[in-house]
């Protein structure tokens, strides 16, 4: 299709795509703007002046609950989920490179984990802890519930990675006398590292935003999504928007950080410090 003149269909589709992006970003930018409402402003336009009032409220007012605590719990939980997701998906991805007995079953089990509705997992894990007489907590039952959501995504990404993986690099390493561990450590791992960062990022942000799977499993302390949900039912001021703006900015920073890390890995590689690239 190279070098062709762009026809009418291109412009129609480009317009459609533009509308889609507008649809995605329009509402978000509205709450972003409205979070800077003046002290007298409400949930809708017009702006009543501009101020940082609602961000200040977010940190000052204790009436809205335990934002600091829930934010800390969500981050800790996200990091725990991220670490386990990266490790377990990498191992399972390696396993699936060779045929093994029961692999079809494990594959369907993973797909099942992806398609079981979140509220159902929440109920199931909550009930399981209840029946076994173990107190549900964000770091135990909610952690488990999040893993049933992040691991399938992690494994699917690893499938995509290993499908495009050139096995001749491993062959070469082996021919040069590398042990399996050396082959993994110095050849395979550096090659899949950018994708592993992607898996980690995915795991973190899925966990950080997860509401339904946390609902029945968080125990007595809220995570951030639960806290935000609580706020939607009893807070009717732009303080909600301020919170929305802050959490969105935080998510963006995480993504930028991950993209930067992937970029750094690529740069190191292109300087010849790591193989491949």
């Amino acid at each position: 299709m190279q070098g062709e003149k762009r026809g009418l269909s291109f412009w129609i589709l480009a317009g459609f795509f533009g509308l889609f992006v507008l649809f995605l970003y329009g509402p978000l930018s509205a709450i972003f703007i409205l979070s800077f409402q003046g002290p007298g402003g409400g949930l809708t336009f017009p702006m009543q002046g501009a101020s940082l009032n609602w961000f200040r409220e977010l940190f000052v007012a204790q009436a809205v609950g335990d934002l600091g605590g829930s934010f800390g719990r969500s981050i800790t939980l996200g990091l725990m989920v991220m670490a386990v997701t990266v490790l377990v998906s990498l191992l399972a991805g390696l396993a699936f490179r060779r045929p093994f007995w029961g692999s079809a079953f494990l594959f369907y089990l993973t797909v099942a984990s992806l398609i079981v509705p979140s509220i159902l997992m929440s109920l199931g894990i909550g009930l399981m802890f209840n029946v076994m007489g173990i107190r549900a907590a964000w770091w135990s039952s909610a952690f488990a519930a999040h893993l049933t959501w992040t691991l399938p995504f992690g494994l699917l990404i690893m499938f995509a990675v290993f499908n495009r993986f050139n096995r001749s690099y491993e062959e070469a390493a082996r021919d040069l006398g590398a042990t399996p561990w050396q082959t993994f450590r110095y050849v395979v791992l550096p090659l899949v590292l950018p994708s592993l960062i992607g898996v980690g990022l995915f795991g973190f942000s899925l966990s950080y935003d997860e509401f339904a799977r946390t609902l029945m499993t968080a125990g007595s302390f809220n995570t951030l999504p639960l806290e935000i949900y609580g706020m939607t039912t009893n807070v009717t001021s732009p303080i909600l928007y301020a919170l929305g703006t802050l959490t969105t900015v935080f998510s963006l920073l995480i993504v930028l950080g991950a993209l930067f890390a992937i970029g750094a890995v690529r740069r190191r590689r292109s300087r010849g410090l790591l193989p491949g690239g």
Partner: protein
């Protein structure tokens, strides 16, 4: 079995010399550890899914036969909870309402998702621009769903942008009431939340379509529309199927969007379960969960029969 499909899917049918060599060499040097390796590597995933997927679902099935009152649940074997699900007109209506949302949202997301992915995959020529536009589409996904639902208030509310604009322009005299807290708002928010789950897999399969096939179709005299219907859609089917599985399961289990955007005026199975859970009627919620799970599995099984999604992986 799926492992070979999974790992060799792309090379299926072709002889892969590298693999043959690997196999031979492994047979030469392979100790017991080499044979055990995949099992050890797959064990953590298996154990986690066993403990936190299989056992919880078994618990749901078990509890769905238990008895309960307003404070406790009691181990028992009663079919009362299922009688409640199938015998009440309210639950039938709730299930029908859930199907209604599923069908409408699926139709909208598959249409939007297909054209967005098609534009990105076949009309954007530079790989860099393609990547940037793709990332632009995925960024809102990183914001919490609840925040994205809240973000519709300034638009759809009684004094929101749309009503102000319509009243201001003299098109209507009274603000439209159906915009927020209605089925319309639920569907709009779901399309906003879930279209990405359609775009990503469809874009992914479209990127793998051999461009020579399209050239060939064009050389054979096919029009742009014929290329789409006879070449691209059949080849993009696995992506459409995966996206559909995502959207269908997400909509069927959804309760936050329904609760929030309908203002409590509409119902879904997920919301019904959430309400039962908040009233501590766990056995009743569990019975609904079993029925919902059966329906989801049937739908997904149906989609997987039409399209072999394992090929995709």
């Amino acid at each position: 079995m799926s492992a070979s499909i999974v790992t060799e899917g792309r090379a299926a049918g072709a002889i892969d010399p590298a693999r043959a060599v690997t196999k031979r060499r492994r047979a030469e040097i392979g100790g017991p550890l080499t044979v055990l390796a995949p099992y050890l590597q797959a064990a953590p995933l298996f154990l986690i899914l066993l403990a936190f997927l299989v056992v919880p679902i078994a618990t749901i099935v078990m509890v769905s036969f238990w008895d309960y009152d307003s404070v406790m649940i009691y181990p028992d074997f009663v079919t009362f909870n299922y009688g409640e699900v199938f015998g009440s007109w309210v639950t039938w209506r709730t299930y029908l309402n859930t199907f209604k949302f599923t069908v409408i949202v699926w139709a909208l997301t598959v249409t939007i998702g297909f054209w967005v992915a098609y534009f990105l995959a076949f009309h954007v020529r530079s790989a860099a621009v393609q990547m940037i536009l793709f990332i632009v589409c995925t960024i809102p996904f990183l914001t919490s769903n609840i925040i994205r639902m809240i973000s519709w208030i300034p638009f759809l509310g009684r004094n929101g942008i749309i009503n102000s604009a319509l009243v201001g322009a003299g098109i209507i005299e009274q603000p439209l009431e159906f915009l927020l807290f209605s089925d319309f708002a639920v569907v709009l928010a779901m399309v906003h939340l879930y279209t990405l789950f359609m775009v990503v897999p469809i874009f992914n399969t479209m990127m793998r379509i051999d461009r020579a096939l399209i050239e060939a179709a064009r050389d054979a005299g096919a029009s742009g529309w014929q290329i789409i219907t006879n070449v691209i859609i059949p080849l993009a089917k696995p992506g459409i199927a995966i996206g559909s599985i995502f959207v269908v399961t997400l909509v069927m289990g959804d309760f936050t969007t329904v609760r929030f955007m309908s203002g409590g005026q509409s119902a879904s199975v997920g919301l019904l379960m959430a309400n039962q859970m908040s009233l501590l009627q766990y056995p009743a919620a569990a019975a609904n969960a079993v029925v919902l799970l059966a329906i989801v599995l049937l739908v997904v099984g149906g989609i997987m029969r039409i399209v072999n999604i394992r090929q995709e992986l």
